[in-house]
């Protein structure tokens, strides 16, 4: 592809990048730098933060208590990403191979949830999953039905229906996070699968490989950049999730973002909250760095 080098056209490049650069510096770099400085400070009274260069906040943030919470958040985010990948890959494949007429509508279906605020979607899910919610009502009706059929054929009826606990536990958190993050996984997967050369799949099938083998040996390796992108774009926000564990979680569902939130609000300990935030950001940087190092490896050609 004939790309123009930015060095040959410095002025145009500067003109185009200036607004973006300004935006990033004023609204991202500067506020983040302030929070970063807070993380080396300590509370002086109720509102003042004295930036004394202390490392106490980081020392406290790496205590076992917080390390375990970090670990748990990683585990939850990784599980969510894995489920999203397993569920999302067939969905992306289906969209890729759907007819031209259907594809825009299927993509619209994936993006439709973005039209509603996360809070509204979470509450909707809570109404569905509550002990008196529709999911439980449906299961209860099925249970009653089975019981009725059993009495009809002369068997003992089932014991009375006890609602299943679908809400306020770790299951609900993972379920809610998968629900929220699935589109983030499907879209990059779709982008990768869509540009895949179909003749390779045909060749594989013609040469005697089964469908499953073709997917594992041909489609997955070729879609690897999309998979990596999807994993990153799902894992990182899932790691920082706080609304879902807060609303749908039970008593042991706190994630690191909930702890951070409480430092800024209830505990009024902004320096410690800032230190925890930056540890989380460093972890995300590390993930992205690992990914870009991986990208340097020449792709399958």
């Amino acid at each position: 592809m004939a790309e123009q080098d930015w060095k040959t056209n410095r002025r145009v490049f500067a003109a185009v990048s200036l607004p973006t650069l300004f935006w990033i510096i004023v609204f991202f770099v500067v506020p983040m730098a302030i929070v970063w400085l807070y993380s080396f400070g300590e509370n002086k009274g109720l509102t003042e933060i004295d930036i004394s260069g202390t490392l106490d906040n980081y020392k406290r943030a790496t205590e076992w208590l917080y390390v375990t919470i970090f670990g748990k958040s990683f585990a939850v985010a990784a599980l969510v990403t894995l489920i999203c990948l397993i569920v999302g890959f067939p969905v992306a494949m289906a969209i890729t191979f759907a007819g031209e007429k259907w594809r825009p509508w299927l993509l619209l279906g994936i993006m439709l949830p973005f039209w509603t605020n996360l809070l509204v979607r979470t509450y909707a899910l809570m109404i569905l999953l509550g002990s008196q919610g529709y999911a439980n009502k449906g299961l209860g009706a099925l249970w009653e039905g089975t019981s009725w059929v059993k009495t009809l054929v002369g068997l003992q009826p089932l014991p009375t229906w006890e609602p299943v606990q679908l809400l306020f536990n770790n299951f609900a958190v993972v379920f809610g996070l998968v629900y929220v993050h699935l589109p983030f996984m499907v879209l990059p997967l779709y982008a990768a699968l869509d540009r895949l050369d179909r003749s390779l799949i045909e060749a594989s099938l013609d040469l005697g490989a089964g469908h499953f083998r073709t997917i594992m040996r041909i489609v997955v390796p070729l879609a690897a950049p999309g998979i990596v992108a999807g994993v990153m774009i799902t894992l990182i926000p899932a790691l920082g999730a706080y609304l879902t564990p807060d609303l749908m979680g039970g008593t042991d569902s706190q994630m690191i973002a909930n702890v951070i939130e409480r430092q800024f609000k209830k505990a009024n300990d902004w320096p410690f909250g800032a230190a925890l935030s930056f540890l989380l950001i460093y972890a995300m940087f590390a993930l992205i760095a690992i990914q870009s190092m991986r990208r340097k490896v020449p792709e399958v050609g």
Binding site: T47, L107, S131, F168, L187, K266, A267, W270
Partner: protein, 368 residues
């Protein structure tokens, strides 16, 4: 261009991110445009006819703000907050433009210490005379320098009558018993939880020591498997929806849903409890301080507070308004708990040394 074309042409996640980012920026700009309205007309007191009120949810009469506009011409914009911490965090970086706020007692103390509140000019609030004398000289704000009482409230146990064997009149059922395992909700507020455990152990809410906190933490970890949810002051919804059968909540919140559901009741446990009081204050830097005084005075009017109280069903410190209320309110044991129990209840003082200890201990409880 067809929006689907954008997606089709996005090759790789960078451009996809950009496509999504553009949409996000578009949305946030829409919000800002709505905020910048033109200057309003001036009032006799020299201020524009506007007031920004920062209040709790379900905490105002149905027509109070409209009535105030009819009486004075001042347009009230009300925003809602859901915890004192949100209120404090918002004001930490300076007043974002509010004229009247409603912090609880310990936060009146905290915000006054942090120099966030404007001293009230009592000459502009003649309706102060309607307030019960017991609520004028309070420890957290001597002689009401910064605040006027709006409501008071007591923490207790809201429960579903058909799901309990007997009225849960002891903290034991929530704090130290597996009797109602999996049907209990606690408040997520660390300080309140530790102080109430203190009450259960027979201590004053203001006399806890770090050793007590360690003891209580162990008790909490032991009881945690029986607790379903730490709620963010929305325990009444959990109770109403049937997700939980016993919730730690404020009396007024439960009184509100008892109107809808006759199977719900509330009790202040016999060990005593913690009282709170929400107060009308003017934050420093308020753009319309004169309107704010007029508004506070209006809210303390007997008829006005009667209408508010009819809706929110919280105990009012306004004796003139209370006198106008029907007996069903005045004699309601949920709204006004029996005097012998009330005698064992206390207001929590603001304690900057213990607050971080409560928070860290509660984080450990959650992680356990």
């Amino acid at each position: 261009m067809d929006p689907f074309e954008v997606i089709k042409q996005t090759r790789g996640r960078r451009s996809l991110l950009q496509a999504l980012g553009v949409a996000a920026v578009g949305i946030s700009f829409g919000g800002l445009a709505a905020c910048s309205k033109g200057e309003g007309k001036k009032l006799a007191n020299g201020e524009e006819a506007k007031l920004n009120f920062y209040n709790w949810d379900t905490y105002i009469g149905e027509t109070t703000l409209d009535d105030f506009k009819q009486a004075t011409g001042v347009d009230v914009t009300m925003d809602l907050f859901d915890s004192n911490d949100v209120l404090f965090a918002k004001f930490k970086a300076g007043n974002p433009g509010y004229d009247v706020i409603v912090p609880s007692n310990d936060f009146v103390e905290r915000m006054a210490k942090a120099d966030m509140l404007m001293p009230l000019d009592h000459a502009q609030i003649p309706n102060k005379k309607n307030i019960d004398a017991a609520y004028i000289n309070v420890e957290y704000d001597l002689q009401r320098k910064y605040s006027m009482p709006y409501t008071w409230l007591a923490l207790g146990i809201g429960y579903r009558k058909s799901k309990v064997k007997a009225a849960p009149d002891s903290w034991k059922v929530l704090f130290d018993s597996a009797e109602y395992a999996g049907r209990i909700a606690w408040l997520s507020e660390a300080g309140d939880m530790f102080r109430l455990y203190g009450k259960y152990l027979g201590k004053s809410v203001n006399a806890l020591t770090p050793a007590d906190i360690a003891t209580i933490e162990k008790m909490m970890i032991k009881q945690k498997p029986n607790v379903k949810k730490f709620h963010e002051d929305d325990g009444q919804d959990l109770l109403l929806k049937g997700d939980c059968d016993l919730v730690l909540e404020y009396n007024g919140d439960i009184a509100q849903i008892m109107v809808e559901d006759k199977d719900i009741d509330f009790v202040v446990p016999k060990e005593g409890s913690q009282l709170n009081s929400d107060n009308l204050c003017i934050p420093k830097g308020a753009p319309h301080p004169k309107n704010a005084h007029a508004f506070i005075n209006y809210m303390l009017d007997a008829e006005v507070d009667k209408k508010i109280t009819e809706t929110i069903l919280f105990p009012t410190p306004n004796s003139a308004a209370k006198a106008l209320m029907p007996d069903s309110y005045k004699n309601n044991p949920v709204i006004f708990p029996p005097a012998d129990v009330l005698a064992k209840c206390e207001y929590a003082r603001f304690n900057p040394e213990l607050q971080p200890l409560y928070e860290e201990a509660f984080t450990r409880v959650r992680a356990a």
